[in-house]
Subunit: 399 residues, 3 copies
């Protein structure tokens, strides 16, 4: 039996009826079965592609991407996922549109969606804004579909908001599951999600938040470490606590990178901005207070600089389980001596983990494709089997 | 019999031999049968898509878009139409090209068209320029095709020039036909195409011109209303007059919004710039007279401000037939109290018409696709029937 | 027998085993058989397309383009080639990415390539840099593929580096072969690859270098002419010399445009910057010496201006074989009296050669497609035959 067929069998045991025609905002909106379905379909699509089998389920249709922040990885992952399924990506570049012209989100949402099957949005810059934008957008197209304006309701793939970065964290987890040889081996593993120093300012909180909320669902002991003041959103901490309780793991907070790294199986050292500072920044932007923003930036950079020892050095790594914890990063990292003078990670550490880091990233296109697949295909079990059996190559004449 | 088959039957009664391998500049270049064919094919393509049937007639090929002005709706409509038929959009972004480098339009036209089946151009900024650019471009590719440089002659879809905005006005009309239950119900309907106040400056004239020229072909009473001095191009007024005469309707001009709205069945209140001012502006740009341009803008804004009462308020709407005229706008509108302090339309009016406005916009992708289809398919009647009968889903495993 | 079948037969006589899964940097990396295979497959793909036959070998997959310099022709040629084979182009716009953010080339290369079958790179601005960038990029994805990060190794198509511009020069040569009725008629033809005056500064050397290295492989007498100081890279001159020796032609250098044009069968007058000045410029950019760069530019422009008589005038053309040499240019040209006051070529000369110039350009999409085809298809002979026999139209219902 092919791997895809095995995965289809596994999928058939999961309760996933609610995924059809649904959206993906945050991992904690989803049941365990639903997350498992995404990993399963992602693996199946990868297997099919590796065996040169077509996974093109769309004959036409658009995948709309909206990047309100720069992106390489997520942009190409989204494009790859859409292309893999047969959708053409059309980027809504707000600079080339008439949006500045007084157009509302509700209007834009409908105007770009007449033939859109998927909407991918990255809006991670302002606390309290990114998710709201996605919600407003999707409410508009849902209404548009109900009122007969849109023939189909496009599905949302959250490509990073101010709260969660689900395609990243799901790819991270797919990598972890694969690295440790299965979900069943994750119970009791210690994960250090820690802040790390970076010379730049205002990095989003969505990755540490997403990791705290997702990794606690697998019975792992997740330790969130950061200098005082660098808190993440309290609502997400609550999610992490509940998940840990429900799944037999733990969620603890410490103010020491060493403590977090001690005997850790997995480390995820990454810079982010303090939640409260980000709230303040959002407020300053709303007021258009340029001076205030510059002052805040200055303060934050000065504050960051107090914690330059929060870095994933060789010494720090030696504290981990056998000195060999799995090092994770969403990339790009601030690499000491390579991309900056002092940063999140030593070059020698980073370099040793290049292959696993790139493999970690390689899951993202498949995770996104799986999210789309499960939202668009009514009977994904049969669909996977049919794709497996079909004699449709991805590349004809490959051999 | 399926709706598509009925539409194919209707199409077979129309004289459309000239549409094959032809271009679309202005609606008044086309016969009644040709316009009817576009509505018919647009409806059929919509019906096929709604029934999840593939309408992909191209296996490869490019749709080139050239936007010399910002665009959301038209950009996505063009992308949607191309994708629906199997063409990939490639945008000619003049900033990323070597055009500034001294390249002629003739050269660019050929260089981007080696595998282009469609060219969509928006060039609406300067009176006397937009159409000229499209014509020069298409003459070049026609010659290129005749001289063996291009294997195929791409077809032009005018995505808005200084004279007409045919994809917009055809979509508007498709909406009107659908709203009133058929072309046969339009005779004698009163249409108020009126100027409205906007705080911005220099909006194109192509929409009021296109509406005046197109709506007069359906036996309707078209009233063009604007403050003194806000005339449209006299050539297009002539077209409107002749069309009205030939089709048993009327074309009149008034200088009062109230008079136009009185008992109207359809209202289309929208800002535009005075034709003569736009001619002057083109001249100033040609000379590079920055000071003159700024002065002209100032004058025009001041002049606009004298006519703030030209707005589609609730009072104004109450003058229309039963107070319930169909409100049209090409979007985005300047909405009083939403996108600006004082604009083209009251928020309460606009909001009440959101669904019909969005439906109006939803016709554009299909109108564009129909224009392409009729220019590229030799026997569109048989083609529609074949698409209808084929067992090719747009989205596999949808159900 | 169809033309494609004949070409497939010809292809079967060539030794091309090394092309599969290989890259295209420079023409002199390739054997005569390999170059011949590219011309052959390009002709076959053109024949298939002209007969409305599908050449889509990819069902999904991305073609990544990276343009570190502006481009119209090459951008659209690459897009056309990818589309012809079924790949979707995804442009890596460094401004929209996080590359400035400290990301390495190795990382970017892997991050964009998870589903990339082809990478097209233009990086021609700095001597000593362009090729290095392409090499670093491809080494990274090759390693990524070997280490299990990338399921497939994308193939490189060099869209112009500092050393060669192979897609241009191969298209030029395809045009020359076609113009003279076959490779066998090229022996002994005189080619004048000459510098010409342009009011702009710092044009790449890759075209004269590529022409010198490629045209000498066909037994032609290639004369490289430029004012003193405008040398090309000595390494490439060496290649040209060796090629001439091996193929029974010649490679000579002169400092007179007249001498080069005298009795020439082919002329390629085109501006470029002196090699040594470009080396100096690279150095200045590396140091960030803005003043030095401005000064160098000034010097070079002044120096250029001494050689305004190096222009392809009617007088100059009259020196060529029967006054009717084939005029080549990679476009866009600096045309005296059209795009500039004094430039590379008289308007009357340029205008007389418009059709052949555009035909010259028309080979580029097919040359690129052939490079991809030969790198991705294991048995290209059978593949061409299968495409020829299949009943898959490019445009359905064309007739």
């Amino acid at each position: 039996m092919s791997k895809t067929k095995e995965l289809a069998e596994k999928l058939s045991t999961l309760e996933i009826g609610n995924m059809y025609e649904n959206d993906f905002y945050w991992t904690w909106d989803k049941t365990d079965d639903e997350l498992s379905a995404i990993f399963t379909v992602a693996d199946a699509l990868r297997d099919l592609r590796e065996r040169n089998k077509s996974t093109k389920i769309f004959d036409s249709g658009l995948g709309i991407s909206i990047f309100r922040d720069n992106s390489t990885r997520t942009r190409f992952s989204f494009a790859s996922a859409c292309n893999l399924l047969g959708l053409e990506v059309q980027d809504l570049d707000e600079k080339k549109s008439q949006i500045a012209h007084g157009e509302t989100v509700r209007e834009t949402a409908n105007m770009v969606s007449f033939m859109a099957d998927v909407i991918g949005i990255r809006d991670d810059m302002f606390i309290g804004e990114g998710h709201k934008y996605q919600k407003t957008f999707m409410d508009a197209v849902t209404e548009g579909n109900e009122h007969g304006v849109l023939e189909q309701k496009p599905t949302l793939v959250n490509l990073q908001c101010d709260v969660d970065h689900p395609t990243q964290c799901m790819a991270d987890m797919a990598h972890v599951i694969n690295y440790f040889g299965g979900v069943e081996n994750l119970k009791g593993k210690k994960v250090a999600m820690t802040w790390a120093y970076s010379p730049s300012y205002g990095k989003p909180l969505s990755v540490p938040q997403g990791v705290a909320a997702l990794f606690t669902r697998f019975g792992m002991d997740v330790v969130l470490a950061h200098p005082e003041g660098y808190d993440i959103m309290p609502e997400v901490e609550e999610v992490a606590k509940k998940n840990a309780e429900a799944n037999g793991g733990s969620f603890t907070k410490v103010n020491s990178m060493e403590e977090a790294f001690k005997d850790a199986d997995i480390v995820y050292p990454k810079s982010w901005a303090p939640f409260k500072a980000m709230e303040k920044r959002t407020e300053l932007y709303r007021k258009g207070d340029k001076e205030g923003i510059d002052k805040l930036e200055q303060e934050l950079l000065e504050n960051n600089a107090k914690f330059k020892d929060w870095t994933c050095s060789e010494e720090m790594m030696s504290l981990t389980k056998d000195g060999k914890a799995l090092y994770l990063h969403c990339l790009p990292a601030d690499i000491t001596g390579l991309s900056c003078e002092e940063g999140e990670v030593d070059n020698s550490v980073f370099d040793r983990y290049i292959d696993p880091l790139y493999k970690q990233a390689s899951y993202k296109p498949y995770v996104i494709a799986a999210m789309i697949f499960l939202a668009k295909v009514k009977d994904p079990v049969s669909a996977l089997k049919a794709l497996d059996e079909a004699d449709e190559p991805r590349l004809s004449f490959k051999k």
